[in-house]
Symmetry: C2
Subunit: 274 residues, 2 copies
Amino acid sequence: MTARRTVFFVSDGTGITAQMLGHSLLTQFEGTEFDQVTLSFIDSVDKARECLARIEQEASKGNGQPVVFSTLVNNDVREVLRKANALCLDFFETFIGPLEAGLGLPSSHTIGRSHSAQNKQNYYDRIEAINYAMAHDDGATELEIDQADVILVGVSRSGKTPTCLYLALQFGVKAANYPLIPEDFDRKQLPRALRSRKSTLFGLSIAPERLTEIRGSRRPNSKYADLDNCRYEVEQAEILMRREGIRWIDSTAKSIEEIATTILRELRMERHLY
Amino acid sequence: MTARRTVFFVSDGTGITAQMLGHSLLTQFEGTEFDQVTLSFIDSVDKARECLARIEQEASKGNGQPVVFSTLVNNDVREVLRKANALCLDFFETFIGPLEAGLGLPSSHTIGRSHSAQNKQNYYDRIEAINYAMAHDDGATELEIDQADVILVGVSRSGKTPTCLYLALQFGVKAANYPLIPEDFDRKQLPRALRSRKSTLFGLSIAPERLTEIRGSRRPNSKYADLDNCRYEVEQAEILMRREGIRWIDSTAKSIEEIATTILRELRMERHLY
């Protein structure tokens, strides 16, 4: 029988930071299933008391002490949670002290600073990057292609679209993408619009065995998904990228996050995470 | 003069968790500018030594001790970084001990577990949610609308598209969106496709003054961006949503993250963060 444990993510904001930090720790424990509950926007003592009741209710079930990952800026709110019969790990409380000492500055203890829309220019840049990714998906248009920070190329279903959207949403990077199709292989060169933008081009390749799986889940028994065809397209795309001097990575075993951050590193782009 | 400090985010993976943790803490310090450097995929002692050199170089400039936020699973790698003349805050080192004790289990100390593509079903679900959001943006199609977990409605530029993409990318939620347009206001009812899906509908409203700014940045001096027109559309959209009993929130001062997580909470959807 697999062990189970209930995990709460408690935050005075969205809860995304608490969830992300908690997940990165929980992935280190194999053989335990974690039932996850996110309690977001807990920004008052009253709301904290409701959380406390919920955590205590879970603790009373006798399935082991719940784990509480929290990012709570306010001391009074945190104080309430601390009473829980739970393993409470607060990121804010743990690090803010050493950071204040190291910087020689007091922190402002202001709730709702992460993921905030307060900086209008940042907000506009991000929305513009998202609009750009949507408008320049799958070679839809060559308009404004000179504005791209990154142009991804690769065969259909090699991961270009999710990566472009992630780059836009998380990093505000303007990313376009172009599919490499049999016409490009026959012509033995890149589409004209891309030839002058070599320094922003980045390629995604993929194992043919994985590509046939992905394509097959959408269009089973098609030539498009056929393994031999996938092998041909991937081989030709790699020949083309090599000939054109385009850097590429193999996306096969990589998450969207891993692909996106590898590209930023390879293109030496330091970008702000939203 | 504003104080400056260099901050390093060091990770054996993408660095996204380290960045998110660091940002949530740094936003608490006003009046200091932070120059940010992300060093990702630091998964060997050799790479750690290169990081150390880079941090030491920064420290030698005399602009105050650099701050290092890290998420390093491997003890040997962490040991190298610890030698730096910097304020080192390692998230993993701090929390893994208490968590092991609380769970009564050893951790696996395996690098690259967060943001990993190891679980194929998760990967497919996420990609499918992204494809769904792309295909069902801006009322593009009513096909498969019954598959939507969430359907956002609101006037043009109220934040629907970024929110749908964020829900798909970060939470694997299938989100469609429909613009509310003057024809809907004249008809005094929702588009037919939406009427049977009331429980999944969620509205975004926005202050007309903000809407005119956003629309004006794309189409200056248009009727579309005109303040009176924005006032009319927002008022009519709210009348329609109220009449149809659709829950909505005001997106004006909210980030994409705040809108997305508020919707998940209001619709009582517990979702896994990718």
